[in-house]
């Protein structure tokens, strides 16, 4: 079986085509695949659809989705935030979005997670109570089950998922640490090709307890170990 370990981030992202749909893990920093994003920025793919909790951070943190957006590589965003909750926090995204130069779909965060989960679970659609009676349910089917209203939501899938994990074995089995986990496990299942950047070196098969695998290797295609001089979590992202 072909090794899943790539020597460089550049090699791992080399084949990503213009117009790809990519899911990015990460929540307020932890789990953000910053080194993969940096490589993708250098690689040059454009016209991307990105699926992520936010369209990047608001502050001055290490590289994240905002870098791709600022560089004009993103055509469409699916996220739980298309504006900060405070009007003083504005990014390039906000300007582009208000000017109509970038498309965006605003999705409640739990619905975002569940749609990604459904995409990796072969579910055709599902009914959630979230958003009923609000703007986010406009134009969507609302249906009652056992006396409660639910809105119909569709699965999300992607060409690629990018995530950061803590530990891996050569089969591609992943472990995350604390809230680094967030969208990683569900995005890995919803994407055709999953790229993981890793805090530490790749262990031999058998070194991770089978009961403690967070993302089985069958969902992981490419792994790159973040070198000591790579981008590490710690400086704040959004």
């Amino acid at each position: 079986m072909k090794s899943k370990v790539y020597e460089s981030f550049d090699a791992a992202v080399a084949d990503i085509a213009d117009g790809s749909t990519i899911m990015f893990s990460g929540f307020a920093g932890p789990g953000t695949p910053r080194n993969l994003i940096a490589a993708l920025l250098a690689q040059g793919a454009s016209g991307l659809t990105v699926i992520s909790n936010t369209p990047g951070s608001w502050g001055d943190g290490p590289i994240d989705l905002k870098a791709l957006i600022d560089a004009g590589r993103v055509r469409r965003v699916v996220a739980a935030f298309t504006a900060a909750t405070h009007p003083s926090m504005r990014r390039a995204f906000d300007e582009l979005y208000e000017a109509g130069e970038i498309e965006a779909e605003l999705v409640p965060q739990g619905t975002l997670a569940e749609r990604i989960r459904a995409g990796g679970a072969g579910i055709g659609a599902f009914y959630t109570p979230t958003g009923v009676g609000t703007e986010t349910a406009e134009g969507k089917e609302v249906r009652s089950f056992e006396g409660r209203d639910y809105v119909l939501e569709l699965p999300l899938r992607a060409d690629y998922a990018m995530l950061r994990a803590h530990r891996a074995d050569e089969m591609g089995n992943l472990q995350y640490v604390h809230t680094q986990r967030n969208f990683g496990p569900i995005m890995a299942r919803a994407a055709r090709t999953t790229l993981a950047e890793l805090d530490g070196p790749v262990a031999a098969a058998g070194e991770i307890d089978p009961n403690q695998v967070h993302t089985p290797g069958i969902f992981v295609d490419r792994m790159v170990v973040v070198p000591a001089d790579g981008i590490q979590e710690g400086a704040r992202g959004g």
Partner: protein
């Protein structure tokens, strides 16, 4: 009104936290609501849940001792408590929708007399920031709101009907503002407790909905932070 002073954020947070029962799973929204965890009731164990995948996490990490992979939903570094559990995002919201969160404390721009509230989109803006608020609003067994009583311009935030796009219809049951504690009932807002030095008329004047003032109106209960 010389002696009247609006309630501090921590006083509001303490008052809300006094409602938490032993063993409750509590989700605190970004900003003001996070102050609730500063109030510690010695005989009650509270389990704080965060929608980015934590159950039973602890207080803010001291600077220099952060685990950079351990943040709450507000992006603040927190410390683990013994017995903490980590979930992925789908499972974290599954438990919220399934009713395992006993109370969600959220900030808001507006709360209406019918229990609607608005906290994700400002007027005239194209984008919005929903985050986990809509899931918490429909999933949590109780939804409490903390907010300034009025906007910076003095406009009321407690209204007959929300003017802004709502986060969820009819879910809020308790609101702490800088002027008091309000219960949302089928009859509308009931002023349960009032900030020291204020009169019900003064509070009514700053409010955009008719207030019910019960005979047993009390002064705002001041919880104390340990």
């Amino acid at each position: 009104m010389a002696s009247a002073e609006v309630l501090s954020r921590q006083a509001m947070a303490n008052r809300i936290a006094m409602e938490f029962e032993d063993g409750w799973v509590v989700n605190l929204g970004i900003g003001m609501p996070t102050l609730c965890s500063n109030f510690v009731h010695p005989e009650r164990q509270i389990l704080y849940q965060s929608e980015n995948g934590l159950v039973n996490y602890g207080p803010l990490a001291v600077e220099g001792e952060e685990d950079f992979n351990l943040v709450n939903a507000g992006g603040q570094y927190v410390i683990p408590l013994p017995g903490m559990a980590v979930l992925d995002h789908a499972d974290a919201f599954a438990l919220i929708r399934a009713g395992y969160v006993d109370v969600s404390v959220l900030g808001a721009y507006e709360v209406a007399a019918n229990g609607d509230f608005a906290n994700w989109k400002l007027g005239g803006r194209k984008g919005g920031g929903i985050g986990g608020a809509m899931d918490l609003a429909v999933g949590a067994r109780n939804v409490f709101v903390m907010m300034e009583h009025t906007t910076r311009d003095g406009a009321p935030r407690l209204l007959e009907r929300c003017a802004l796009p709502i986060t969820a219809p009819g879910v809020v049951t308790l609101v702490a503002t800088t002027l008091g504690l309000f219960e949302v009932t089928s009859e509308g807002f009931v002023l349960r407790e009032i900030a020291p030095g204020y009169s019900p008329d003064e509070v009514q004047a700053a409010t955009g909905a008719k207030l019910i003032v019960p005979q047993d109106l009390r002064e705002f209960q001041q919880g104390h932070s340990p």
